[in-house]
Amino acid sequence: MIEMIIINGAVMGGVISILATGFSLVFGVAKILNLAYTAFYMVASFLLYIMIIMYKLPLSLSFVTSIIITAILAMASYKICLDRIKEHESAVLIITVALTILFQEILILFFSAINRTIPPLVGGSSEILGVAILNQQIFCVVVSIGIIAIIWLFLSKTKMGNAIMAVAEDREVANLMGINVSRMCMITVGISGVLAGLAAVVVAPLQMIQPYMWMYPLVSVLCAVILGGLGNIKGGIVGAYILGFTEACVVFLFPKFSFLRGAVSLSIMLIILLIRPEGLFGIIFEEERL
């Protein structure tokens, strides 16, 4: 039991943390609350289905291609739909919801709303401490932690990462250092697309692929990033794992009530926000500290 909770919590937490990182990056740097973000993850999953099941392409080729296409799709929708209206926050919300529904309807048109699956990328299962665990689950946990580590290294150790973080904090001042702000936003959106594609690669074999699969992760991602402090990347990651383990607890301890897992995580978010309105890792500086 406890092992199942740990492994499933880590899988859930891992996937959500990848998505939460992409979401927070775009929110922090490009200042866009992109509700279409998990739709990119859905599109990436469908791309995998198309390439692996329908066209029987080799796995690695399918992975790379779907990640690249997702990144291009993310950048194109940013450039075409969002870039020019991003000062209008409500317009951004409406457009991103519209984009999501557009993707959903297009997928329903071509694939209808039935559940599809793709086979595990790493087959079989292993025994750890006497418990049988799918290799795909282990793969998912390890790779998601690896991805987060790489992103973190990129942001904290490279020049471009530092510039991206500078833009996230003060776009105007970043200009004064010779940083091309709109280019950094574009790069960030591209990275977020790659992350959505990676999340799909990692978790698609464990999930049903269907045209509504953006909805549940979106709630979780919003929950995680608000829990951690909106725009704070570290907070989003921690929030994602808190959520993953909570939901795994609900599902395995009270199997009858597993349909309530979303409600439970939302309640946790509410409670934390009541105690700490800025989220777990949000920082409030005094406005003018002199």
Binding site: M165, A166, E172, A174, N175, L176, M177, G178, N180, F285
Partner: protein, 249 residues
């Protein structure tokens, strides 16, 4: 002429902020712009550094977006008004903004590294960093502290050090002394002198007239977006009208 500002007009909606503003800076000089609150000092520097254009671009289409900027700003003969802000920084014209505006959630070191964004070589970056630590030793002891928790004076120094990381040829300092204790001001004074001695041309704005006059070779007095007087410190002080009306000395 090194920096030549001619007939600069700036309107926010219908409010006139700069009114046919003209002045110039020669290479190697320290020039200051003094004037009361709301005279347009910050706006002038922001216009030169491209931030007004930036504001114009990002607010385009919103109710705040009616910003009109006309005139000409020539830097080494090149027109700056049409350039985006980051390209102006690439020309080595660097603005250290009002109140410094360090990245508050980033450490001192990360702030300085962001300043060195345009520097390609690791070695040069390290040299610049050492030079900054030499001028502002306090920053070295605080290098891993988050900038938001620095004191006001330390933040001013961080902002100046960060601007130096971009290897400025012309450094615009917007009210570097605002809110600082007299002793800290003296420190800062010495720092600005050092930066000037490194061969950087400096254009600064100040409300503290004596600070500005002591530091600079020439001064402009700004009021309501216009230059109302110019000259050396002694010329300005000996002019009774200017002294009483604008300088409050």
């Amino acid at each position: 002429m090194y920096l030549d500002v001619k007939n600069l007009n700036l309107f926010y909606d219908r409010a006139m902020v700069l009114d046919e503003l003209s002045f110039h800076v020669n290479k190697g000089e320290t020039v200051s712009i003094v004037g009361p609150n709301g005279a347009g000092k910050t706006s002038a520097l922001r216009a030169i550094a491209g931030l007004v254009k930036w504001e114009q671009d990002i607010l385009k289409g919103t109710v705040m977006g009616k910003i009109t900027l006309t005139g000409s700003v020539l830097f080494k003969g090149e027109e700056l008004l049409k350039l985006p802000a980051y390209k102006i920084a690439e020309r080595k014209l660097i603005l250290c903004p009002e109140r410094g505006r360090p990245f508050r959630e980033r450490t001192v070191l990360e702030n300085l590294q962001a300043g060195a964004y345009m520097v390609k070589s690791k070695k040069v970056m390290q040299e610049l960093l050492n030079a900054a630590y030499e001028i502002f030793p306090i920053l070295k002891t605080r290098k891993n502290q988050v900038a938001g928790t620095l004191s006001g004076g330390e933040r001013c120094m961080l902002a100046m050090a960060r601007a130096l990381q971009s290897q400025p040829e012309l450094l615009l300092l917007d009210e570097p002394t605002v809110g600082l204790a007299p002793l800290v001001k003296e420190d800062l004074f010495a720092c600005v002198k050092k930066i000037h001695a490194m061969g950087v041309t400096i254009l600064l704005t100040e409300q503290d007239v004596s600070f500005a006059f002591e530091l600079s070779e020439r001064n402009y007095v700004l009021s309501r977006g216009k230059v109302v007087a110019e000259g050396t410190a002694s010329q300005l002080i000996s002019d009774d009208l200017v002294r009483k009306t604008y300088l409050g000395l």
